[in-house]
Amino acid sequence: MHRRALLAAAALLPAAAGAQGFAPQNPECIAPAAPGGGFDLTCRLTTRMLNELGIVAPAIRTQNMPGGIGAVAINHINAQRRADPNVIVAVSTGSWVNMAQGRFGRFGENDVRWIGTIGADFGVIAVRRDSRFATLADLVAALRADAASVPMGAGGAVGSQDWHKAALVARAAGADPRRLRYVPFEGGGQAMAALLGGHIQVFPGDASEVRGQLEAADIRLLAVLAPQRLPGAFAAVPTAREQGVEVEWPIIRGFYGPPQMPDAAYAFWVEALRRLHAHPAWAEARNGQGLFEFNLLGAEYEALAKRRTAEFRQLAREVGLVTQAP
C-alpha cells in the first residue's frame, strides 16, 4: 500500500504545486449521518487531525446531514453547492452500494469529485469457537450443497454492505445469493450476540468490530476479506484468497467533493490527505477509528470508486436489488 501511495503522491506533485493558489475559507466536512455513526467519526477525527497537525489552517467544521445513508447529502451537494471549494463529504463503500442500487436518487459516482481515502476496515467471516466450520472451504462446501442451510446474520439489511460479504462468498461457492438464509440485525453488536448465543452460525462482520471477541477466543475467523493478511490479532487468520475464494471486502472510508469543485481546491484537498497519510501521528489516530492503512488519492481513488460501483451494480441487478435506474 505504501508504494501505491507514493505513486499517487508523485503523480500529484504538479497539482500540489498548483494547490498553493487555494486557501480554504470556513471549510466544512459533511457527515451524512447523525452524530455517533461511522461517517460522523470519519469527519470529526480526520478534520481534527488535519487541523492539529497544521495541514489545514482554518478550523474545519463538521456538519451532520443524515438521511438515506448519504442520499440527502449527495443531493444537497448537487443541488446547492455544485462548485463549493470549501466542502468535503465523508463517504464509504456502503455509499457505493447505495449508488449502485439507485438509492441516491438520480446521482451516482459520476456526480462527485473523488478526493481520497483515509483507510479501510476489512470484512471477516466469523463463527463461534465451537463451530462446525473449521475453514472457509467447509463453509463454501456447505453453501454449495444448500445455500439455505447456514443461518447467517449481520448488522445491515439485505442489499447492504454487510449482506454483500455473505452474498459474494455464496457466489464464489456457486450458490445463489438470493437463497441465503441471511438475517438482518440492528447493528453488528446484536449480530455478534446472536452468534455467541448460537442463533446464527456465521457472522460476516468487520475486523474492527470483532477484535475483542477474537482476542478472548469466543469466536474464530474463517477468513479476512482483505488482499493480504491483517496485522496484530488478525495475523493468524488467512485471507479468503489464500483459501481459493476470490472475495475481498474492504470498507474504504474517504471523502468526495462537489462535482464542479475548482481544480485548485480539489488539488488542495488531495494534497491535504497526502500529507495526512505521510504524517507519523496519523497511524495511531487511524487505528483508533478501527481502520487499517489504505491510501488512495485523486485519480486512483476515482477509478476504484467507479470500478467498485459498477461491480455492485452488476451484483444488484443479478439478485434483483436495483430499485430504480441510476
Binding site: N75, A216, G290, T323
Partner: protein, 492 residues
C-alpha cells in the same frame, strides 16, 4: 469476594478528584440533554468524544464522563414529561401518564421527587447487580433468541390496551397507527422501500424524536392555544408535598421495576422503552382497583422512571463483559474505547481493570450525585411552571426544534414534526390516547424485525416461536393478559 477487591480498585480510580469532577460534569450535561426532547444521549456523547481526545483525557476518565452523560439522561427525561406533558426521551413517555395529572393537581414537585428517588434506586441496585453478576448475566442474555424476543414484545404489546384509560378500541387503533408509522423506510429483510413516498429523508424511517416532539409537544401546544391555556395547564402549588408513607408505598413498585428494567436492559435487543412500558403496565394491573393510575398515581411515576434507569445500567452489562453494544448509545461508548486503542471485549476486565472497574465505581458515585443534584432542585424545576405558559411551552418547543435541527440539519424533520403535531392535536380531541401510538411505533418495529429473524432462522416454521421455555412462559403470560379483562368481567 474478588469483585469487592476489584471494585475497591475501581473506587480508587473513580474517587480521584479529576474523575469526580468529570462525573459531576457528565451528570449535569446528561440531565440537561435528558430534559429536552430534541437531543439524546447518543448525540451528546458523540459530540463530546472529540473533546475528550483533544483534552487528552485518559480512557477511564473519558468513559466516566461519557457514561455519566448516558445514565444522567435517564434523570432528565421526566422533568418536562411531568411538568409539561412533553417526554424528554423515549422512555419518559410512560411518565406523562400519571406524572402530568399529578402536576395538574399541583403535585408536580412530589412526582419529581418520587421519580428522582426511583431513578436513583433503580440505577444503584442495578449497578450492584452488575458488580457481582455481570459475566453470568451477559452469557444468559445472548441465549435469548429472536423467537424469545418475539414473545417478549408480544407480551408487551398485549398490555397496550391497559396502558391508557381510553376505551380499548381507541387504544388498539392508536397502537396500530404507531405500528404503521414504524413501517416507513427501507425494509431490512428485502431492501425494498416502504411508504417513503419517494422522499429520500424517509429512507431511514421516521425518527422517534420527531414523532414524540410532534405528537406530544406540538400537539399539546395546539390544544393549549385552543383552550387559551386554562383548563389543562399544570399548577405549581396547591398539592400536598410528598409524605414518607407515600414514598414507602412506592417502594415495592420501585423494586419490581428495578427487576424488570434490569433484566430487559441486559438483553441486547430490547431497551429502556420496553422496560418502562412493562413495569408501568405491571403496576397498573397489580393495583387495578385501588390505584388511581392515569389520574395521578405516584406509583405510575415511580415504576417507569425506575425501570428506565435500571435498563440503562443493564444495557452496559453486555457492553462491558462481552464487548457487545446492545444499543446505539452503548455502541458509541464502545467506539470511544476503540479510539483509545482499547479493545472492548470479554478481556476488558482483565486487560484494563482500571477502565472497567473505574467506570462501575463511578456509577455508584454518579448516581448519588444525581440524586443530590435532583432532590434539592425539585422545587426549582417545578418553579418552571411560574413561567407563563405562553412563554414556557413555545420556549421548550423552540429548544426541541433547535435540538432536532442540530442533530439532523433537516428542515424536512421539522415539517414532519409539525405534521405529527397537527395529528396529535386532532387525536387528542377525538380522545385517542397518544402513548399507545408511541409504544406501537417502538414495539412494532422490534416485533417485525424479530419475527422475521425468527422465521427466517426456522425456515418459516411457526412452531419455532414456541421452542424455548422462556418463549412458552411469555406467550402464556400474553394470553393471560389478553384474556384477563374478560375473566374479570365474568367474575364480577
Amino acid at each position: 469476594m474478588e469483585a469487592l477487591a476489584a471494585l475497591g480498585g475501581g473506587f480508587a480510580v473513580a474517587l480521584a478528584p479529576h474523575n469526580l469532577a468529570l462525573a459531576l460534569i457528565g451528570c449535569v450535561i446528561g440531565t440537561a440533554i435528558g430534559v429536552l426532547p430534541g437531543i439524546g444521549p447518543l448525540n451528546a456523547i458523540a459530540l463530546l468524544l472529540p473533546f475528550c481526545l483533544a483534552l487528552k483525557l485518559p480512557p477511564e476518565s473519558a468513559l466516566i464522563l461519557l457514561a455519566a452523560v448516558y445514565y444522567g439522561s435517564g434523570y432528565g427525561g421526566r422533568i418536562t414529561a411531568i411538568l409539561l406533558n412533553m417526554p424528554g426521551e423515549p422512555s419518559a413517555v410512560l411518565t406523562t401518564l400519571d406524572g402530568h395529572p399529578l402536576a395538574r393537581q399541583g403535585r408536580g414537585a412530589a412526582a419529581l421527587a418520587v421519580s428522582g428517588i426511583g431513578s436513583f434506586l433503580g440505577a444503584t441496585l442495578s449497578v450492584v447487580l452488575m458488580t457481582f453478576l455481570s459475566a453470568p448475566l451477559a452469557k444468559a442474555a445472548v441465549a435469548f433468541s429472536p423467537a424469545d424476543y418475539v414473545a417478549l414484545i408480544a407480551f408487551a404489546l398485549s398490555l397496550l390496551g391497559a396502558v391508557s384509560d381510553a376505551p380499548a378500541p381507541k387504544a388498539w387503533a392508536a397502537g396500530c397507527l404507531g405500528v404503521l408509522l414504524a413501517l416507513v423506510g427501507v425494509d431490512s429483510g428485502t431492501g425494498v422501500e416502504r411508504f417513503t413516498l419517494g422522499a429520500l429523508e424517509l429512507l431511514g424511517g421516521i425518527e422517534f424524536t420527531v414523532l414524540a416532539i410532534g405528537l406530544f409537544a406540538i400537539g399539546e401546544i395546539l390544544l393549549l392555544a385552543e383552550q387559551r391555556v386554562r383548563a389543562e395547564a399544570a399548577k405549581l402549588g396547591g398539592g400536598r408535598s410528598l409524605s414518607l408513607s407515600e414514598l414507602a408505598g412506592c417502594l415495592p413498585a420501585m423494586l419490581r421495576a428495578t427487576g424488570i428494567g434490569f433484566v430487559i436492559g441486559v438483553l441486547p435487543g430490547a431497551g429502556a422503552s420496553v422496560a418502562s412500558a412493562l413495569s408501568y403496565t405491571a403496576e397498573k394491573r397489580l393495583h387495578g382497583k385501588e390505584g388511581r393510575f392515569g389520574q395521578g398515581d405516584l406509583r405510575g411515576v415511580a415504576a417507569p422512571e425506575t425501570a428506565d434507569n435500571a435498563a440503562q445500567i443493564g444495557n452496559l452489562v453486555p457492553m462491558l463483559s462481552l464487548g457487545i453494544p446492545g444499543s446505539g448509545t452503548t455502541a458509541v461508548l464502545l467506539g470511544a474505547l476503540l479510539m483509545y486503542s482499547i479493545t472492548p471485549g470479554p478481556l476488558l476486565f482483565e486487560q484494563r481493570p482500571e477502565v472497567a472497574w473505574g467506570l462501575i465505581a463511578s456509577m455508584y458515585i454518579g448516581n448519588a450525585m444525581l440524586l443530590l443534584l435532583n432532590l434539592p432542585l425539585v422545587g426549582l424545576f417545578a418553579r418552571l411552571l411560574l413561567v407563563p405558559a405562553s412563554v414556557l411551552y413555545p420556549g421548550v418547543l423552540a429548544l426541541s426544534f433547535a435540538g432536532v435541527y442540530a442533530v439532523s440539519n433537516s428542515a424536512f424533520d421539522l415539517l414532519l414534526a409539525l405534521g405529527f403535531g397537527v395529528l396529535g392535536w386532532w387525536l387528542r380531541k377525538l380522545g385517542v390516547p397518544l402513548v399507545p401510538i408511541v409504544l406501537g411505533f417502538v414495539l412494532g418495529r422490534m416485533l417485525e424485525d424479530n419475527l422475521r429473524r425468527a422465521l427466517s432462522l426456522s425456515d418459516g416454521d411457526l412452531l419455532a416461536l414456541l421452542a424455548s421455555p422462556v418463549s412458552l412462559a411469555l406467550w402464556a403470560m400474553t394470553a393471560l393478559a389478553l384474556l384477563w379483562p374478560l375473566l374479570r368481567r365474568r367474575a364480577a
